[in-house]
């Protein structure tokens, strides 16, 4: 469960309306969500997300239960989301679609190289390491399987 990418910093309380707006929800077109991700926060972000690690402030992903928010991030190429705290539905949704989410109170520097290991529970930013909150065995297993759908197919 190792990953790495360049950091993009986000503020506190980024809500799911700002990750993907309500006006884009009525479709199954994942590419459309990726194209409009963060449109109401910073319209230049969507094109810059591939291979990055989002380092958000507290309460990342608050608001609506829309799973399109985490799908949009994954589809746009985000490797993982790190934040000191998450809104619980966003957190659970991310695990369910196989997008690593890491609870860790680490400071962000735009463009820094970020490495992480979910199973071992650490995050490293510019070479300095800190512990992340461990996932429950079930959450880790779902993430390892690539999400709840593949996990379900393996375990039923």
């Amino acid at each position: 469960m190792y990953g790495e990418g360049q950091a993009i910093c986000l503020g506190n309380d980024v809500d799911t309306d700002r990750i993907i707006a309500g006006r884009y929800l009525r479709t199954r077109d994942r590419a459309l969500w990726a194209a409009h991700v963060f449109e109401d926060l910073d319209p230049t972000l969507a094109a810059r997300l591939k291979g990055t690690v989002l380092m958000a402030g507290k309460n990342m992903g608050c608001g609506s239960s829309r799973e399109q928010a985490v799908i949009a991030l994954k589809e746009a190429g985000v490797v993982a989301v790190i934040a000191p705290s998450f809104a619980r539905i966003f957190y659970r949704n991310a695990i369910n679609i196989g997008l690593p989410v890491i609870e860790c109170p680490v400071a962000c520097r735009e463009g820094a190289m970020v490495r992480f290991n979910l199973a071992e529970g650490w995050v490293e930013v510019d070479g300095s390491q800190c512990h992340s909150t461990p996932l429950s065995p079930k959450m880790l297993a779902i993430l390892k399987a690539g999400g709840l759908v593949p996990y379900w197919r393996e375990h039923r």
């Binding site: 309380d13 609506s64 239960s65 619980r88 949704n93 759908v149 197919r153």
Partner: protein, 406 residues
């Protein structure tokens, strides 16, 4: 002593539990992805169709052919699976489940963040995403980490024009947008006994605005009386003195009308501090404040007068619409110049009707005022029904003075 959440989930805070789901709900918004995930899981059928509800409320009726096509597929799926299907016009999913379906002590899971509304019955009710819902359809169960609980202790009783909505805005202010993260809220104290079910549903509805997993009220005589009207005979949940990780006292008797501004639900001020702010639209409805009691209160204030700003009234359910129609309230609203929408979420999430234009301000009785939610460049103020009513008449944000009309 266990908290209500611990009681319902049958384990102490901090433990992980797998529990059967008594009511599983999805709507036209989240149902599409849940259906897709369910098909990808390769499941033959929904495990407990008798506990499964699909309710069309978010874009009801459909606004584009894409939406209509997705809804058509979901309708077909619901019929094949033999689940309870409520088509457009039935109402908002949380309100439909509050009309004689959810009972005290149940585990209620909805693919919608405001599922916490149903904690008003002493149920453990929480929101999940679409893939979680697909797994619930497949297995009839789900997993939770049993949350710690914050006690919100209401002292005294509501007075003057203050409503349960003002109490909700007040506790969101006190906790902040993440003050309830990973936790449950329990509404307790002498004050809660005096708040009828409509107000309790409003209180529990906004629990998620603090990040809370659930918001619960213990089933008492008031709950039983409400359920009995639907032919349901439930038992009171015995009052206990559980261990709360934190307790927040809030004095209802000194509460005044409040408003949330600045794109944050926890950015709450007295209406008096912002009185006179011009409005472009007033919206009354939603799972927060679209119930019969809300529309009655609104109508009592606007009756015989004319609104000065475009005003949308959207009943939370067909039952609400039926009742306001039968009692002549609907006519009063129409005569006062209000526009009536079909039962459902209406303009709350800016997905179809009632969208704001750039630079416009809407005073809404909903629960979220996030940036651009009701339209790009639009601003949303959140308030009580009484504040919305007097402001609609004045065309600007106005302090309600409505003694003892609740």
């Amino acid at each position: 002593m266990p908290t209500l959440s611990e009681q319902v989930l049958g384990a102490p805070a901090g433990s992980y539990v797998d529990v059967p789901v008594d009511r599983a709900m999805a709507h036209d918004g989240t149902g599409v992805l849940a259906h897709q995930a369910f098909c990808e899981m390769g499941c033959p059928g929904i495990r407990r169709p008798e506990c499964t509800y699909l309710i069309f409320d978010h874009i009801a009726p459909a606004n584009t052919s894409t939406t209509a096509g997705l809804q058509r597929e979901l309708r077909q799926f619901a019929r094949e699976q033999g689940i309870t299907f409520c088509d457009i016009g039935s109402g908002i999913c949380h309100q439909v489940l509050a009309e004689g379906i959810v009972r005290p002590g149940e585990v209620v899971v909805g693919a919608d963040s405001h599922t916490c509304t149903l904690g008003a019955f002493g149920a453990f009710a929480t929101g999940v995403g679409a893939t979680d819902m697909a797994a619930i359809w497949a297995s009839g169960t789900t997993w939770f980490r049993v949350p710690e609980t914050i006690g919100i202790r209401f002292i005294g009783q509501l007075r003057g024009a203050a409503e349960a909505k003002d109490a909700a805005l007040d506790y969101v202010r006190a906790l902040g947008m993440d003050g309830g993260n990973y936790r449950a809220l329990e509404f307790v104290g002498e004050g809660i006994a005096s708040i009828p079910m409509a107000g309790r549903l409003t209180l529990c509805n906004m629990a998620v605005e603090t990040g809370a997993k659930a918001g619960l009220c213990r089933a008492d005589r008031e709950t039983l009386k409400y359920l009995a009207a639907f032919g349901i005979h439930a038992k009171e949940q015995v009052p206990e003195s559980p261990h709360y990780v934190k307790e927040i006292p809030l004095d209802l008797s000194s509460l005044v009308p409040l408003v949330a501004t600045g794109h944050r639900v926890d950015h709450v001020q007295k209406v008096a501090a912002l009185a006179g702010q011009p409005l472009d639209q007033v919206f009354v409805g939603t799972c927060t404040n679209g119930r019969y009691e809300d529309l009655l209160r609104f109508a009592r204030i606007v009756k015989g007068k004319q609104v000065k700003v475009r005003t949308l009234v959207v009943p939370a359910s067909r039952k609400v619409l039926e009742r306001i129609s039968a009692e002549g309230i609907l006519t009063e609203l129409v005569r006062a110049g209000c526009v009536i929408g079909p039962p459902g979420c209406g303009p709350c999430l800016g997905a179809h009707m009632g969208v704001l234009g750039e630079g416009e301000t809407c005073l809404s009785t909903a629960n979220r005022n996030f940036t651009n939610r009701m339209g790009i460049g639009g601003d949303i103020l959140l308030s009580s029904v009484a504040t919305a009513a007097v402001s609609a008449l004045a065309g600007e944000l106005t302090v309600p003075e409505v003694p003892h009309v609740r």
